[in-house]
């Protein structure tokens, strides 16, 4: 351990009044973060850098003795084999070294710092810290740069480091300064009950109040609130108004989706009810246990167990802070599963990302946007660190790219859970205690401009930092461990998660049918000084709310103590029909629950749809099929996601049957993943998804049908039963106040209804995110209409599961499904720079029969492998199965079942190779069982189109046997490995 002299760069007054421990790696080879930073900074254009070394830093209270700091360093902070620690006394800094530029990155005050919490806890538990409570610890990162003197210019360093190494929304980046922050967030100055004057206000003043308070209530809603309080002859309190705004928010109420719509001369009274929910209600599947009304959809599984799934978006938080946004997205959807019914055990996660072009030149990046590569690597790391720590395998997903996601990336996270059937329902009774468990409450997720924080303007760094939520997976893992045990001991009667709106939504929902009284001063806080309404609406993570009968309370609190989970009684459920909030006995809110939940005025939206006019370029003949194969395999949506999948622990829980990557070298994509969640049941769960934003802008209705088909064929291709499959819808759309966006939503929703009815596949849960637009200069860019459909399918016996990689040489290859000329929004058009064409659309009369027939063939055991045809058509599917199996094949295009129509300008070979017609599969069959296979497919278009072969060459022949393409599978493999790199 070295002791350092004060640095000359900072004066002692600016240095933190805390002990500083910096832990440096002894060997550069043990510092991969430094190597990564060097590579990233060089790529970003910082020239003349020679080396970057990183260190981890910790600040510990000035009250510690030197001996305590040394003990913490030795026992907790530094590794005796790998590290060298530097300790500085309070108000001191490490000695400056000639030729080394230091940059420090530290979290802003009030931003969650789970590592610091762990250090503080460990110091207290191990007795190193002997004072009361836990010490205030913080962490920071150190970057030490060496290089040419001109390169080590602090101005240059600031420019690059803020873009590449730190995120100024949540972090301070200190260049050549040692003045680290150490203070706790400051207190809100306000006390007492504050009323907001609404009565008698004219419209523009109402709107101003909504805008300045970030209430997101429109004029009709503000008038409804005003009228309600006119009737009460008083003004609302801040806490009441915040509660109404949270409860009536788009996020909680699906206002737009449930609105009355006037569309092209028709009136749709409630879009959601008449399309997506209508399909589920009309299908009335007996195996649907709970749909749409709880935190997730629940279906029957086996042996007295149900399974459930929920998918959420976390788009805007991920645009600001990809790592934290994606991580808390995962954390949030896991809590939905912990909070559905009486709680389910999470068994799988899914993720889907939609980002701008990964090869976008820096010069074309709109101002204020992060580069898509940085966003992608950040969200992957966020999902990885949260999902892996939770011990939930992340097993399915995808990455899609389009220029219109540059300023507004989309991040979807899903979780699947399993629960005993008796735990699928819950009820709250008056007299039950309201217990909050898990994380503490801070200013996380409270936006800067709400009423409660307008007075905090002088502490702007706290506001902006606090707006971002940072996850703490281990706190949530503790909660998970607690919930499954407390559930089975039946220690509570109801549970829900604290998501958007925090306690206000959770308690408001749970108490909706009876009433609730919450004593806000009892809520445990991360730091003192929050105002009552800040506590009430904080979106601090990792919290759940339980309704606990008085007689179970002691046992519940004991279970929490054993699991090291903080649990606090914060109030009671009542029979008053009112939501009452008090703060040290003073009433902060007293709301009629009926008005709160039923008082939302129903808006009417106008909608229209103008399909974009694109010249139809037809499908010209392809001069070099080999080159086109390689370009398709290297395009972002198709290219290998292996580098992402490998970072996710997709094997944890030991239930893996089919992994996200398959094949001899484990580098071919699976259509879906399969797990076997119950030891006592042979049944499996296939989990897959579909999305096609490129179709969405051209034809939202066709897109919806095709995406549902894609999700279904993905799960059916691996062994899922199409008649025991449920789906989830997640819409991310532009601002639906615009008629064209709303029109696209109407068409997509109607497509969802048609497809769900045709396939007999109910929606069990869904969510929408409807304000995904960004400004570039004066131009507003809306994202492409993006519908993610997730499918949860029961595999009758995991023994029937098939993968997408070819298994043997000499197998018969069948193409199931007829190929049509579907090129609108296709990858063929994208790669060749073409436009127009028919958007892929399933034949809703034929497709459901095809899925059932294929399922019966797979169940019979005649199928060796199966891969669905999607982006890039037959060419890409065959390529993936070939390099997956390290086998070649010869495929005769003249045998492919097709109906190419009579449209002129369509080259037949190109159409057969690259069309994206849905409901098609490339199936490998044991030749000895070909007749048996064909009997299952009777009445469905299918044909034996070729055979696999040992030589690693994929060959297609056209009319009269002419060879169209002959490609080495190793070239296909390496093309597939390029194209989606962050």
């Amino acid at each position: 351990t070295h002791t350092a002299k004060p640095s000359t760069a900072s004066t002692p007054e600016t240095l933190p009044a805390a002990w500083r421990v910096e832990v440096h790696r002894l060997r550069a080879g043990d510092d991969p973060e430094g190597a990564h930073a060097l590579a990233a900074l060089r790529e970003a254009g910082w020239k003349g850098l020679r080396s970057v070394r990183t260190a981890r830093g910790f600040l510990l209270p000035a009250e510690c003795t030197r001996a305590m700091v040394d003990a913490a360093t030795k026992e907790i902070l530094a590794d005796p084999v790998l590290d060298r620690a530097v300790v500085c006394a309070p108000r001191e800094a490490p000695a400056a070294t000639e030729g080394v530029l230091r940059v420090l990155v530290a979290r802003k005050s009030g931003v969650m710092d789970p590592v610091a919490s762990t250090v503080a806890r460990a110091m207290a538990r191990s007795g190193i810290w002997r004072e009361k409570g836990e010490p205030h610890a913080t962490t920071f990162r150190v970057y030490q740069f060496e290089g040419e003197p001109a390169a080590l210019d602090p101005r240059l360093a600031r420019e690059h480091c803020t873009r590449i190494l730190g995120n100024e929304t949540i972090e301070d980046v200190l260049v050549a300064s040692e003045a680290l922050p150490y203070a706790l967030p400051r207190q809100s100055p306000r006390h007492g009950v504050v009323h907001v004057p609404l009565r008698g206000l004219p419209d523009e003043a109402l709107l101003k109040t909504s805008r300045e308070g970030s209430l997101s209530l429109n004029l009709v809603e503000m008038r409804a609130v005003q009228a309600h309080y006119e009737g009460l002859r008083r003004e609302p309190t801040i806490a009441e108004l915040e509660t109404i705004a949270q409860t009536w928010s788009e996020h909680c109420k699906h206002k737009t989706f449930a609105s009355r719509v006037e569309f092209e001369g028709r009136v749709i009274d409630n879009l959601l009810k008449q399309t997506i929910k209508a399909a589920t209600m009309e299908l009335a599947k007996p195996w649907c246990v709970s749909v749409f009304h709880d935190n997730a959809g629940i279906i029957e599984f086996d042996e007295g167990f149900d399974v459930c799934m929920k998918v959420e978006t976390h788009n805007h938080p991920s645009a600001i802070d990809p790592y934290g946004g994606a991580g808390t997205g995962v954390g949030g959807v896991i809590r939905d599963i912990l909070g559905v019914g009486l709680g389910a055990k999470p068994i799988a996660n899914t993720d889907a990302f939609f980002v701008g072009p990964l090869d976008l030149p820096q010069s074309e990046l709109p101002k204020g946007c992060m580069h898509p590569r940085r966003i992608l690597s950040g969200v992957v790391a966020g999902v990885r660190d949260y999902g892996n720590r939770m011990g939930i395998p992340t097993i399915a997903g995808g990455v899609w790219s389009h220029p219109d996601y540059v300023g507004n990336p989309l991040v979807y996270a899903g979780t699947v859970g399993i629960m005993p059937h008796w735990a699928a329902t819950k009820s709250v009774r008056p007299g039950d205690k309201i217990v909050v468990v898990g994380g503490r409450t801070g200013r996380d997720g409270i936006h800067g401009a709400t009423f409660s924080s307008v007075e905090l303007t002088e502490t702007s760094e706290i506001e902006s930092g606090a707006a971002v939520q940072i996850g703490d997976a281990i706190t949530e893992k503790r909660v998970l461990d607690l919930i499954v045990r407390a559930r089975d001991a039946r220690l509570y009667r109801a549970i829900t998660d604290c998501g958007a709106g925090g306690l206000s939504s959770a308690v408001g929902e749970m108490g909706a049918d009876c009433g609730a009284l919450v004593r806000l001063e009892t809520v445990p806080l991360k730091y003192p000084g929050l105002s009552p309404e800040e506590i009430w609406i904080s979106e601090a993570q990792e919290r759940m709310v339980l309704a606990v009968p008085e007689e179970s309370l002691e046992r519940l609190l004991e279970a929490c103590r054993l699991e090291d989970v903080e649990a606090t009684v914060i109030g009671d459920f009542t029979d008053s029909g009112r939501l009452v909030l008090t703060w040290h006995g003073e009433v902060q809110a007293d709301l009629d629950l009926h008005f709160l939940h039923e008082g939302t005025p129903k808006p009417t939206r106008k909608a229209r749809f103008d399909p974009p006019r694109e010249a139809d370029s037809g499908v010209p003949a392809v001069a070099d099929h080999r080159a086109l194969f390689l370009s398709l395999l290297s395009s972002t949506d198709i290219a290998s996601k292996e580098w992402i999948v490998r970072q996710y622990d997709h094997e944890v829980q030991g239930q893996s049957v089919l992994k996200p990557m398959t094949g001899v070298k484990r580098d071919a994509p699976s259509d879906a993943a399969v797990i076997k969640p119950l030891a006592q049941s042979k049944k499996g769960l296939a989990i897959g998804c579909g999305a096609s934003p490129r179709y969405g802008r051209l034809d939202p209705g066709a897109m919806a049908e095709t995406v549902i088909d894609e999700a279904l064929r993905n799960v059916v291709a691996v062994g899922g039963d199409p008649d025991r499959t449920a789906i989830l819808d997640n819409f991310s759309w532009g601002n639906c106040a615009h008629e064209d966006r709303m029109g696209a939503l109407v068409l997509a929703s109607e497509g969802c209804y048609r497809a769900a009815m045709a396939y007999g596949t109910p929606f069990i849960s869904g969510k929408d995110s409807l304000n995904n637009e960004f400004k570039v200069g004066d131009r507003v860019i809306a994202i492409p209409p993006t519908l993610l459909v997730s499918a949860l399918s029961i595999v009758p016996d995991v023994g029937i599961v098939v993968a997408s990689d070819w298994c043997r040489a000499g197998s018969a290859l069948y193409l199931v499904g007829a190929t049509k000329a579907h090129f609108g929004g296709s990858h063929h058009h994208l790669v060749r720079g073409l436009s127009g064409g028919a958007v892929p659309r399933p034949d809703l009369a034929e497709a459901p029969r095809a899925l059932r027939a294929l399922h019966s063939a797979i169940k019979s055991g005649a199928v060796l492998s199966c891969h669905d045809l999607s982006e890039g058509g037959l060419a890409v599917a065959a390529a993936e199965s070939a390099f997956g199996g390290c086998l070649g094949a010869t495929i005769d295009l003249s045998k492919v079942p097709c109906d190419l129509g009579s449209a002129p300008g369509i080259d037949r070979d190109a159409a057969l190779l690259y069309s994206e017609t849905p409901t098609r599969f490339l199936v490998e069959v044991d030749p000895a069982r070909a007749a048996e296979f064909e009997s299952h497919l009777a009445g469905i278009p299918h044909a034996r189109v070729g055979a696999t072969r040992a030589e690693g060459v994929l060959e297609f022949t056209g009319a009269r046997g002419a060879s169209l393409a002959r490609v080495d599978i190793e070239d296909l493999r390496s093309a597939h490995q390029r194209g989606c790199k962050a």
Partner: protein, 269 residues
């Protein structure tokens, strides 16, 4: 009176492979108790009924600061005498993945038999050379070592999933001592059992391709990969290919590891 072949599986905040570890042990014939670390710290006497203590994989305490650091600290501070006595009395300790990292932090690999003092640490598990968390299947080969229940020469496939699994020693002398002392229990190899030659075989870049280590008595063993994730025939990444080729498999290749471990457990009284 202690029951034969009882196992204690320890869990705490962030341990997440406990269910499959319990399953593997039970299938191997052990009676298993899943115990929270805090319960064991409050009642160390729980050790007396067991022949085996297992620390499963996961991210104990988030692996904050470093993998296994805080769990290791809790063992050193709260249980080091009890665990030393347990091992000296013939008890076995196994750590898988995060459990291995915890055992390295605990000092149990370097402790002199019979002693309760923890010598300065000379081994570590640190960041993979790829600098990334990696989940992939590898092949392990059993070494002739102090843990004589490890089948020398046997090669079996198992998944690994970790970010900090690269085994390193303070110096060459440490490595030589471990090799000479029969402490190298498992190595990463190619599928045919020949030595690993690159990141495809030894994905974290461990020194001497060491995947598993034991103490000088063979009673304490740790390994990074997860044999408990290959208990069933359909866990293997190529099981559909093996089925297509007519290869009969009734269980996963990882179960044998647990079977041999449990079979070799002493009956402690």
């Amino acid at each position: 009176m202690a029951h034969a072949k009882n196992s204690l599986v320890l869990r705490t905040a962030g341990i997440n492979c406990d269910a499959e570890t319990v399953r593997a042990l039970e299938r191997a014939g052990s009676r298993v108790e899943l115990v929270h670390l805090h319960a064991l710290l409050e009642r160390p006497a729980l050790l007396e009924g067991a022949s085996l203590v297992v620390i499963p994989g996961g991210f104990s305490y988030g692996d904050d600061v470093s993998s296994g650091r805080i769990f290791g600290l809790e063992l050193r501070h709260g249980l080091s005498h009890e665990l030393a006595r347990f091992v000296d009395g013939g008890g076995r300790v196994l750590g898988v993945c995060n459990g291995f990292q915890v055992l390295v932090e605990s000092g149990l690999f370097e402790r002199e038999p019979g002693s309760t003092t923890i010598p300065p640490r000379t081994i570590a598990l640190t960041n993979n050379l790829s600098a990334r968390f990696e989940c992939r299947w590898v092949h392990l080969k059993g070494e002739r070592c102090a843990a004589d229940w490890i089948e020398a020469g046997a090669v079996f496939p198992v998944p690994m999933a970790h970010g900090e699994g690269r085994f390193v020693t303070l110096d060459e002398a440490t490595l030589a001592r471990l090799e000479a002392g029969g402490q190298v229990a498992l190595r990463y190899v190619k599928a045919d059992g020949s030595p690993a030659t690159g990141p495809q075989d030894n994905p974290n870049g461990s020194t001497a391709a060491i995947a598993g280590l034991c103490d000088r008595t063979g009673r304490v063993l740790g390994l990074m990969p997860h044999p408990e994730r290959n208990l069933d025939p359909w866990n293997h990444p190529e099981w559909t290919r093996l089925r297509a080729r007519g290869v009969e498999r009734t269980r996963g290749e990882g179960q044998g590891f647990w079977d041999r471990l449990v079979a070799a457990l002493p009956v402690l009284v």
